[in-house]
Amino acid sequence: MTEQTGFPLPSQIADVPGAENWRSMYQYFTRFQPDDDKRFWFYNSMHFPEPMPAFDTVTAEVPYQAIGANTARLFVFPTTLGIEHRIVNGRVYITANPVLDPAEIERRGAEFGPRAGYYFENWDALYEGWKDRLRALITEIESITVPELPEWEAADVVFGAVGVAQNHYLQENFHRVIALYSKMWHHHTEMLMLGYGAYVVFFQFCQQAFPEISDQTVGRMVAGIDVIMYRPDDELKSLANLAVELGVDDLFTQGCVAAEVLSALEGRGEAGARWLDAFGAARDPWFHVSSGDGFYHHHLSWNDDLTVPFAALPGYVAAVRAGGITPRPTQQLIADRERIANGYRDLLPSDDEKAAFDQMLGLCRLVFPFVEDHKFYCEHWFTTRFFQKVKAFGALLAAQGVIAETGDVFHLHHTEIDQALADVSLAWAAGTPPLGAGHFQPIIAERKAMIEVLKDWSPPPALGPVPEALNDPAVRMLWGITQERVASWLNPDPDEVVGVAASSGVVEGIARVLHDVSEMSELREGEILVVPVTAPSWAPVFAKIKAAVSDIGGSMSHAAIVAREYGMPAVVGTGDATKRIRTGDKIRVDGDRGRVRVLS
């Protein structure tokens, strides 16, 4: 095998045959520029493992303007401006934009200290306020309606002297949906970058003191036990308990269909009504969990698709009947966490190091609730609501004949949706049909075909010249990009998938590749789960599998944390495990080294 010494330059990437027109899907500012050949870019397979439908690029555009604003302009991080992103053949590449001039670093540092210090000093109070602000944003986005365009405006628009007709709200409300999404992302990064900073400091310290410590072990010292992430699954377990208690458990059989069970419950009198009440209460907000991590429109929530909770319920009901569901051993988990932290602390040779360890660990535990729980508020609750609203605008465009079907809206960029709404608005006002069908439908047809073609393209893990050193702890922490990782990208072993060692142990077994949590019923007991990403909605799956592998995630990701609790090996953040492993493959998951090998 010849040793590969570098990655292709951005300018050397050829268009994928059949998708030559991919640039038409994306904003001009996402294209590689000639000078970009001089910089190192890596494929953000962690957040964007699939080709981007046009609308879904909002999940790169908006987060990156929020992250950059936070680090470069708001807190004035001394050494970093923002993250730049580019799209080629439907894939998102990113690079960090550093500050190198020592004088400039010092000038920025003078601002950064007091600003960041304020947040750390007031963390808990600020987090309480943050939750209020996020709930307000969620309430606001939930309240946004897609205007129905009546033949005539309601009378009180006139007699109340409102003076503004419904077509105005087409664009205003759509703009608000996008604007709220942007605000959510600003709040998302508001505390997150500093929170990650606390982690990075502690990780670095531990690695200095204990060079062989794994990220997952550091994670175990930091992890909070009582986090929101477990709540959706806990709600399902409560509902299973209640079903048995009320004697309606006979309805929850393997393969049961949500709609049928719900209508049957309506015929079960008082007991059925009580279960449905509890179910309704649990759904809002706990079923607003995405099956993914909110970066694609097809990451649906439990509320969008009840298949997942109803696939899990029969198993939980059976467990209740068989003697009850064992609750999470929280006391044990807390004791383990303390034992590990104290164990490492005791090994530190000096009192100074012990004091530094205490400070850093304390800071991590301070920020942990935010770092962990923000995902539920942002990526799950808010974002699944966000996509529902966009989809509602899609339904309007479909009803107006601009697009063929509701879901096609996700093949338009948000600025194109805005154009289409202007078209609808003008047409309604003028009393003519909109002109969008002829314009957008051929575009959408071509884009759908291109996305399919682009799915088969294997994006290089990185582009451009390899930097001399990859020592940025934040890049390591967030993206798992290390010198070794880059080396393995350059000379990959065809039978080995490399990722982040997330939960220790080594097992062999049969792979089950699932792309969506709705396919959960295909999973057989004792298989190894291979998925793009896991989220709280996947929690019920972990009771059945013996190891987990994901394309996306780091040592603090959902899959990693749940796998550690179950004591099963997990390798996350592989980038392409779902592509390279097939259902039925015999694989070995090495959760100690972060490797997955295809055996046969």
Partner: protein, 374 residues
């Protein structure tokens, strides 16, 4: 004056030599070592008093020049012949025979000269001579010795080894008085381990004190020490018990101790090196690429190692063996030696960090310097 002590009672390198003292300390720390006894410095002194009354011969050696290799060689040969040929004096021999009989074993007490346990007879140098003995010591272990006469003979050979040319030259160079030089001997039941090797209670690669690094191979650890095989290796966390590195190597050869008929001949190898009674064979195909330890055994070894480390209060370098059998792993682990880890102990690594005025200052400092790649 006791010429013999059990390993459990062996204390003080000046009395029983470094090796026996270390095995004694391990025993008292509750760690299993192959049972045995030490022939003390007093035993040696009694023998020398009988063979070289007044120490005239040794005084003569003390006067030799370090550069006088021929003189050293001649004196050494004379002393070795004297000490090795005569065997222990009666009262020392009686004590050794009684202690050996107490180890049991053999063909059932018929009392024949080849009756009794298979043992290893190992020199156990005193502190004064330990630096020189660390080299010489390699040559003074005899494996697979059986029967009281053979044991006595090899105890005397160990004594004699104190006067080998290398040791004598070493002492002459330091100008040491031969009158203060002594040698104790360890007599220890042979073990035929299923797997054996070495371990460190910190990483030999990174110095990390939170892990135990284990290397092992099938059969005797000599295969590993001699470089005949690339051992299997594991790194296990002391804190979480997680095995963070596993490397299973093709173990082409196996060193195996084969009892019966291999004793009696003098060996020029330690337990760590192949000698008589040790057969070097191709590893059976089905074992070659199989890990020589189970996860349970790895954990039990790590737990034992931590106990020893805690007992000594500093990182250790340990020789271990795992015996065959059905019992739980910790019932089958024996340690053959433990000594302080020296490589990392000698390296000064700076502290990993220091406390700051406020916890948040750590983060401010992190982002205050350029660490990003360009």
């Amino acid at each position: 004056m006791s010429f013999v002590v059990t390993l459990a009672a062996a204390r003080g390198a000046g009395t029983v030599g470094g090796k026996a003292a270390s095995l004694g300390e391990l025993t008292r720390a509750g760690v299993a070592v192959p049972p045995g006894f030490a022939v003390t410095v007093d035993g040696f002194t009694a023998a020398m008093d009988a063979l070289d009354p007044g120490g005239a011969l040794r005084a003569e050696v003390s006067r030799l020049d370090a550069a006088d290799l021929a003189g050293i060689a001649a004196a050494g040969a004379r002393l070795r012949a004297l000490v090795g040929g005569a065997g222990p004096p009666a009262e020392v021999a009686a004590a050794v025979i009684a202690a050996y009989a107490a180890l049991g074993g053999g063909s059932g007490g018929s009392g024949g000269s080849a009756d009794g346990a298979d043992v290893a007879v190992r020199s156990s140098a005193t502190v004064e001579d330990s630096a020189g003995a660390s080299f010489a010591g390699l040559q003074d272990t005899y494996l697979g010795i059986r029967g009281a006469p053979a044991v006595l003979e090899h105890v005397a050979r160990c004594w004699a080894s104190l006067f080998n040319d290398e040791s004598l030259t070493y002492r002459r160079r330091l100008g040491m008085d031969e009158a203060g030089v002594a040698m104790a001997v360890v007599v220890q039941t042979m073990v035929a381990p299923r797997a054996a090797g070495v371990l460190f209670t910190r990483s030999p690669v990174t110095g990390d004190r939170s892990v135990v690094a284990i290397e092992g191979t099938w059969g005797l650890g000599s295969a590993l020490v001699s470089g005949d095989v690339t051992p299997d290796s594991w790194v296990i966390s002391k804190i979480t018990g997680e095995i963070t590195t596993r490397r299973v190597s093709p173990k082409i050869k196996t060193h195996r101790y084969v009892p019966n008929g291999f004793g009696f001949s003098p060996s020029h190898a330690a337990v760590s090196l192949p000698g008589d009674g040790v057969v070097i064979a191709e590893t059976p195909a089905e074992l070659r690429d199989a890990p020589c330890l189970t996860d349970d055994e790895i954990r039990a070894l790590a737990a034992t190692a931590r106990r020893v480390e805690a007992h000594y209060g500093r990182p250790q370098d340990i020789e271990w063996a795992v015996l065959d059998g059905e019992s739980a792993p910790d019932g089958r682990i024996v340690l053959l030696q433990s000594r302080p880890e020296t490589v990392w102990a000698a390296r000064e690594t700076g502290p990993a960090g220091a406390p700051r005025a406020r916890a948040a200052d750590h983060v401010l400092a992190l982002f205050g310097k350029q660490t990003r790649w360009t």
